[in-house]
Symmetry: C2
Subunit: 326 residues, 2 copies
Amino acid sequence: MRIGIVGYGNLGRGVECAIKQNPDMELVGVFTRRNPEDVKILTNDVKVYNLSETKKMKDKIDVMIICAGSATDLPKMTPELARDFNVIDSYDNHSKVGEHFERVNKAACESDHIAIISVGWDPGLFSLNRVLGNAVLPSGRDYTFWGKGVSQGHSNAVRRLEGVVDAKQYTIPIESALERVRNGDNPDLRPDEKHKRECFVVAKEGANLSKIESEIVNMPAYFAEYDTSVHFLCQEDLNKYHSGIPHGGNVIRTGNTGWNEENCALVEFSLKLDSNPEFTSSVLVAYARAAYRMKNRGITGCKTVFDVAPGDLSPMSPEELRAKML
Amino acid sequence: MRIGIVGYGNLGRGVECAIKQNPDMELVGVFTRRNPEDVKILTNDVKVYNLSETKKMKDKIDVMIICAGSATDLPKMTPELARDFNVIDSYDNHSKVGEHFERVNKAACESDHIAIISVGWDPGLFSLNRVLGNAVLPSGRDYTFWGKGVSQGHSNAVRRLEGVVDAKQYTIPIESALERVRNGDNPDLRPDEKHKRECFVVAKEGANLSKIESEIVNMPAYFAEYDTSVHFLCQEDLNKYHSGIPHGGNVIRTGNTGWNEENCALVEFSLKLDSNPEFTSSVLVAYARAAYRMKNRGITGCKTVFDVAPGDLSPMSPEELRAKML
């Protein structure tokens, strides 16, 4: 399988790392909007191209993995690239996924390619487990917890405040809420009863710290409704102790079985990740394998994780899977 | 979807209960080897037939769910019934699944039916999660823990001992081992370091209890290598406190991401079930839905959970799934 990467940030670099772990895959090119000479990648003997050069690689790449932002890049890039390539993206704007699907589906169908969108862990593996949980336990409730992990959006919101030099925000699930769900209490939980927030902030010299703290904890939509703690520290300590991008979470379905629904059942899927982008990339690469196989069976158009059979994600043959994994 | 049930034990009754929870499904008949008049089912106005009468229902049933034992029944029944019906079974003899697959595949292909075998939670949802974990984390380790739950095989082994009237055996995961795995220690764990065993035994009046206890804890293959505790109690208490059939477990994949595999990632899938057979049945019913849909798309032959796209398990349309579950 010959793989191309579009975009070389944390996610693109993660895809490069994941390809190294999969002997049935080969990285054949990285495409960037920057000057290719300024982009240094990890793999020897693989060329970096400008994004404008994708067309000339049309027949040399089996699947293109698009590692770009959901806000403005992917809505344009995924349909465009789907005209020339089989593509994978990690589009994560839940509320606009319908429109994105339609645009990508049109491009992929017209050009006989396959595109798998919204791949990663949420959307992605978490979505898959929501469907699984709901299918086997039709009478039940869904819970999703995120963290402990870094939220980019919340970190940025803090960084935009006057007097703030740098900041990192952690979303933390409230353990007692998680335990209530696992115990089968089926609680109604407001967002602030499921998660708390912790901010590590580097302030400008002489800045009014209590004003910054107050602006953070009272920020509507982001922090106001949550239990939020704010810690000030120097840039060196932020770099030293908070440079990682961990994340994780839990998808839980609680439901009932039996003629009078007298028995409880709990299905839980959870992730604990040192590197959120590297894990997301690992998922993208597994779905690139599935895209390649499905295309070879004549399947085209836009797909999501809901359309992909698990066996297509694995390098093993169906016989091997049945012998070793069933 | 018109569903038939073959076999009316705990599993068959569980399927009946699960059908009640799925408005897109209808139970049209239960088939038994017993005298149909002796079998009382829960659903009103549904007929019980003798197993010999399946052929006359050939055109009235979309999917037949076979609820029988893996040792001697399913190897014969699933291929036979696959000649007349789309079928689901829960074949769980891991070491012989290849042969079972071949026999069922031949019958299903020749008669243009679809058969999904080895459906349930292990094999089944656990297998699916092993494949998922291995596909996204190619460099890593697998761990499966079972329990706390009742093991039928171990309970029967105790019941066969001289002086024993009745018995129940629980398989219990060792919490400290589970924690080491979750902490990313990647321990090597022997079976007895992962699980302990607890037996509740009703002895005959005057039986030699210490002899029974010694025979249990020293029984090769079943108990000898495990930390096993034995409790004697009266039949009334066994019935009162140990009549349930709970089970559960955890499938964990620990792996590494990054160019030098410097970051850890942990994927865990876990179940906590009050009723093992009812949950297994709920899974069977969801895969019956998938079988029906796949057959309608022209897919035939023998399949496993590895071949089924998650979306096919859900009553929702692809549009609904993308809008609500992604």
